[in-house]
């Protein structure tokens, strides 16, 4: 009972400090000289309502791009991470290639990769090269995020203590068996939160595909904003992106908690 008394006081203090902080913030913002103008151009309810249906429809393209890209990234990044962790001098060229790939695609801004592929590849005028801008946008995102996610996987693989691999090998498992049955299951479990982090980044970067001309949520909001010179559609697009991100974050929390619960439940 004493603990709950302390908890209640904590809640009171937290509540109070929250109210004071946000009241001060609200007073500060609403009394800025430009507030009426900002309110009219960014938080205009009528604009919001009018632009939301079209932006929501365009947002489906973001979701599609995200889902397709994520499926490829998860697989390709794992392959890249495994290639980079291959032992022995024979595999040096593959390791070097993996490093070069990760360095290059993590170094080049995503928007440049998208522009180079989206406008460059179709310019080859080869009949079998797809012209679809969405296709090239997805390819660019997969290339860039594979580099990021492979690093996450690799960090996970390296976080598994080498005694695990040594023990497995000493029991006669091959390198591949030790990797797939001992190291990877532990590694992947550990990197789920950082993986999610990258996927939230990917979700947001789907907006960059709009650079090629595909009308996704951000591009649609730009169209609406440019038609009226009112920026409320941007806020509408932001709301959609956040609405997609938050459930994903909670889902991962749940996944991590379930994993922990299952491991503990085994001992109950």
């Amino acid at each position: 009972m004493t603990a709950s008394g302390e908890g209640r006081r904590g809640v009171t203090v937290a509540l109070l400090s929250t109210v004071v902080f946000f009241t001060l913030l609200a007073v500060l913002i609403t009394h800025a000289p430009g507030w009426p103008e900002v309110k009219r151009t960014f938080f205009n309810w009528d604009e919001f309502r009018d632009s939301m249906p079209e932006i929501s429809r365009a947002f489906l393209l973001n979701v599609k791009i995200f889902l397709i890209a994520e499926a490829f990234i998860l697989v390709l990044a794992l392959v890249l991470a495994i290639v980079r962790s291959l032992p022995g001098p024979v595999f040096f060229p593959m390791r070097a290639l993996g490093i070069a790939y990760a360095d290059f695609f993590r170094g080049v801004p995503t928007i440049l990769v998208i522009a180079l592929l989206g406008f460059g590849a179709p310019a080859l005028q080869l009949s079998w090269v797809p012209l679809s801008t969405t296709f090239w946008g997805i390819v660019a995102l997969v290339l860039v995020y594979t580099a990021y996610v492979s690093e996450v996987y690799r960090a996970g693989i390296e976080s598994v203590h080498s005694s695990q691999d040594a023990a497995a090998r000493s029991l006669g498992l091959t390198h591949w068996q030790s990797l797939s049955r001992v190291v990877l299951p532990q590694a992947v479990r550990r990197v789920i939160p950082p993986l999610l982090n990258d996927f939230i980044g990917l979700q947001k970067d789907t907006a960059l595909v709009g650079f090629l001309g595909s009308v996704e949520a951000f591009k649609q909001s730009q169209i609406d904003a440019a038609a009226t010179f009112n920026y409320t559609p941007f806020v509408a697009a932001a709301v959609l992106f956040v609405a997609l991100t938050i459930p994903l974050a909670r889902f991962t929390d749940w996944l991590v908690a379930r994993d922990r619960r299952r491991r503990q439940a085994a001992g109950a």
């Binding site: 009972m1 004493t2 603990a3 709950s4 008394g5 302390e6 209640r8 009171t12 109070l16 109210v19 004071v20 009241t23 001060l24 609200a26 007073v27 609403t30 009394h31 000289p33 430009g34 507030w35 009426p36 103008e37 900002v38 009219r40 151009t41 960014f42 406008f119 179709p122 310019a123 005028q125 012209l131 679809s132 801008t133 203590h161 005694s163 695990q164 023990a167 497995a168 029991l171 498992l173 001992v182 650079f211 090629l212 001309g213 595909s214 009308v215 591009k219 730009q222 169209i223 904003a225 440019a226 038609a227 009226t228 010179f229 009112n230 920026y231 503990q264 085994a266 001992g267 109950a268």
Partner: protein
């Protein structure tokens, strides 16, 4: 027949037993047909851990109990905080009422004197004019000069450059007193203070846009036109109805885009580009079949930017005539002065002669 690989079970390295002594990683080989036997092992290991954790919790619980006796926090102790909240909310409500007045003063400014000295300028004694970079013909001309690409607004060549200098001279500025700055098309209408006195960048007037910025009167009445690549299927279309099955592109925020959506109503989704350059790249790649731009720009794109480019035709006006206006920060008193200058330039035939000089003649009208 191959022997199934053994399944490994072990504790995490570095764990300790219940007396705190380090425990060696335990490895045990279990034949995979007895897969289940690993569960009791894990169970016993984890139960120990749980007991330890639970004991520590209980200890901690008691310690806290002794330290912080449960005390009723009365209203008296909370009084200062409650008072603070009440005061703040009164403050917020009181100030909230007065903030409405501020917005009233930002209405349209009264006509001010148009003497050069009394103009409302960003930089005193200097007319700061914005446009996008690259500055494309036929709106801008002259040899490319850094930071400007393709042409140079300072040259006074090209229709918009010429109009800007004509307006400047009507307002009493010399050519040297006109300064050009780069303002990307889509930021010309961002809310708040502007870095330019006015922006001249083929921006079409729309009533909704006039809520965010002020427009001058028309300096050019514009028609939209369609650019295609010679030899592609769309190049043989002769009417707007025949354009339906093709894919179109336009620059973001242009009336060209509106024209596609509202009047061509194509079957395929229209591509929208941040800049006309990206749209031109897409047309060259045949990612879009046709590009809709204003007629003077169409002449430049088809002649210079797209190999085998062709103006299929210009579109008939639907509704009111579209026109380009110079853009100002909302409420800028400069608007009426520039409007005076434009109407004088229109009356004395300057605009017409500049148009004849810089903008090309007609294209066939698509019905």
């Amino acid at each position: 027949m191959s022997i199934p690989p053994p399944v490994l079970v072990f504790s995490l390295p570095g764990t300790t037993d219940r007396h705190g002594a380090p425990q060696q990683p335990i490895l045990r080989e279990v034949p995979s047909r007895k897969y289940r036997t690993r569960r009791p092992f894990i169970r016993s290991a984890l139960r120990e851990d749980l007991i330890r954790v639970r004991c520590r919790d209980i200890v901690a619980h008691n310690v806290h109990g002794a330290k912080y006796r449960r005390v009723r926090v009365g209203l008296v102790r909370r009084a200062p905080a409650i008072l603070l909240i009440v005061l703040l909310s009164i403050l917020a409500a009181g100030c909230g009422g007065s903030s409405n007045k501020a917005s009233d003063t930002t209405g349209t400014a009264a006509a001010a004197s148009c003497d050069k000295g009394s103009l409302n300028l960003v930089n005193a004694g200097q007319l700061t004019v914005g446009t996008d970079n690259p500055a494309f013909p036929p709106w801008f001309g002259g040899a490319e000069k850094a930071p400007w690409k393709v042409s140079n607004p300072y040259s006074g060549q090209g229709y918009e450059s010429a109009v800007a200098y004509a307006v400047a001279s009507k307002l009493g500025f010399t050519k040297a007193e006109v300064k050009w700055i780069v303002v990307p098309f889509n930021t010309a209408f961002a809310p708040g203070a502007k870095k330019f006195d006015f922006d001249i960048n083929q921006i079409s007037y729309k009533p909704a846009r006039a809520n965010a910025v002020d427009f001058s009167e028309s300096y050019y009445d514009v028609n939209q036109a369609l650019v295609v690549v010679k030899g592609t299927p769309i190049a043989s279309a002769t009417s707007i109805a025949m354009l339906k099955p093709y894919k179109f592109g336009a620059q973001l925020g242009t009336t060209s885009y509106d024209y596609i959506i509202n009047n061509i109503k194509p079957d395929k989704k229209t591509s929208v580009f941040d800049t006309n350059d990206a749209a031109v790249a897409s047309l060259k790649n045949k990612q879009i079949d046709g590009l809709v731009v204003d007629l003077p720009t169409a002449f430049y794109i088809s002649a210079v930017q797209v190999p085998n480019g062709k103006i299929l035709g210009q579109f008939p006006t639907v509704g009111t005539t579209e026109h380009f206006g110079v853009v100002f920060e909302k409420g800028n008193s400069l608007v009426s002065c520039v409007n005076d200058a434009l109407s004088k330039l229109r009356a004395d035939g300057t605009l017409k002669s500049l148009e004849a000089k810089w903008l090309q003649a007609d294209a066939p009208v698509l019905k």
